[in-house]
Symmetry: C2
Subunit: 229 residues, 2 copies
Amino acid sequence: MPARRTNTSPLALAVLSTLMDRPMHPYEIAQLLKHRGKDQSIKIRYGSLYTVVQNLEDRGLVEAEGTAREGRRPERTVYRITDAGRAELVGRLRELVREPVKEYPLFEAALTLVVALPPEEVADLLVQRLRALDKETTTARAMLSDLVDGQGMPRLFLLEAEYALAMKEAEAGWVRTLAAGLADGSFDGVDDWRARHRTREVPDGTRGTERSKAGRALFGGETGSEAAD
Amino acid sequence: MPARRTNTSPLALAVLSTLMDRPMHPYEIAQLLKHRGKDQSIKIRYGSLYTVVQNLEDRGLVEAEGTAREGRRPERTVYRITDAGRAELVGRLRELVREPVKEYPLFEAALTLVVALPPEEVADLLVQRLRALDKETTTARAMLSDLVDGQGMPRLFLLEAEYALAMKEAEAGWVRTLAAGLADGSFDGVDDWRARHRTREVPDGTRGTERSKAGRALFGGETGSEAAD
DNA sequence: TCTCTTATATTCGTACCCGAATATACGAGC
DNA sequence: GCTCGTATATTCGGGTACGAATATAAGAGA
């Protein structure tokens, strides 16, 4: 089998997963995904959806069941998942659950560059972030418990939400600690930071800020493309 | 000022940030970023770099200082940051630190779809993930403390690494709990799950798996484009 | 001194992403 | 029964991302 260039995207997997229920046309797939709240964990853009489905068809993972024309509405193509599609879905899913993948959250990028702002301001901004995070976690916790306890929704369908909540709480905790450290001066090197900022200081060559050797592997996970199945 | 279409990307910000030190040509910027380990937190692709710099120039955030030709090497264009560039850097940075942004980690997407696998297998896969995560966190912790205690690297330059580590530990904790719950049967509804999986069951319409109302706002952060400055 | 490998520096073409436009149907109100 | 807003369903085009190709220089052996 020729190694596929791109790893099947989350949206493509969501499509396959939806077609496990029954054959559908793309728009209906999107509706169902949104209705089930999957759009909170997987980016769904109409612009992409049709391309994605087309790719799946080219790869033989879905096939057109026929084009139905209801009334004089635009023509719709109904797709059905193939055996290869089912195999791809479970295969890729296994991969995604088994292997952590290094990703690039915006906040992490911002932290890398934040030395460009004075420490006092960063402390202030972090407090604002913290407030927002706390608000979000509170809301999310309430909704989760309502769905589980109130509505009797099985936890199985809320795993993503539980995970997202846990991550957000962890981030809030980390931000809280850092903000506190900056505020009460227990964060080491704030003076250097302030000085460095005020004077636009370039630390002579790049001395003191490099991370050539030991720092290389500080972050784990596959950075590049993952191994094939 | 006409609202810019795209929010300045992390790579673009990294470019601006590097040019704060001194004027440079694109390749040199990339070298320096990698040397400082920023490539662990910001994706740096040569293919993108030159486009990004070109965009920055079009937007007036950097300007060509002149093209130097050293020996008969390929011609290099040296760029310098402008006042507008400095403003954009700090403005966007403020935004990124202040406001949490909803992102779409692969693992979260996988959790949304994981019902397609039988619970026993998921339990097994989670244990494998956990092992990988534990390995990564152990390594990262060791390196961090070596850099801080051993090498005397200021914490300021390791914020991203500390954050990434904290997030990874949190994920490991969550995965551990879930895996345990699945293993010892304390996770509610595994029977339903197994049944649903075996029989390819479509729960009659979509009853029982919808999340129309309450579930909408389970995940916070700005989902779409962020507000302008 | 020849050539082989590695580092320097950028360009190109294609594949992909996705906002916006398009086009029809349907129900509600006047 | 007409029209206006909203839901249905897909296509299109411009822009961005990025792998791979290109081209020169420098250093290391033989």
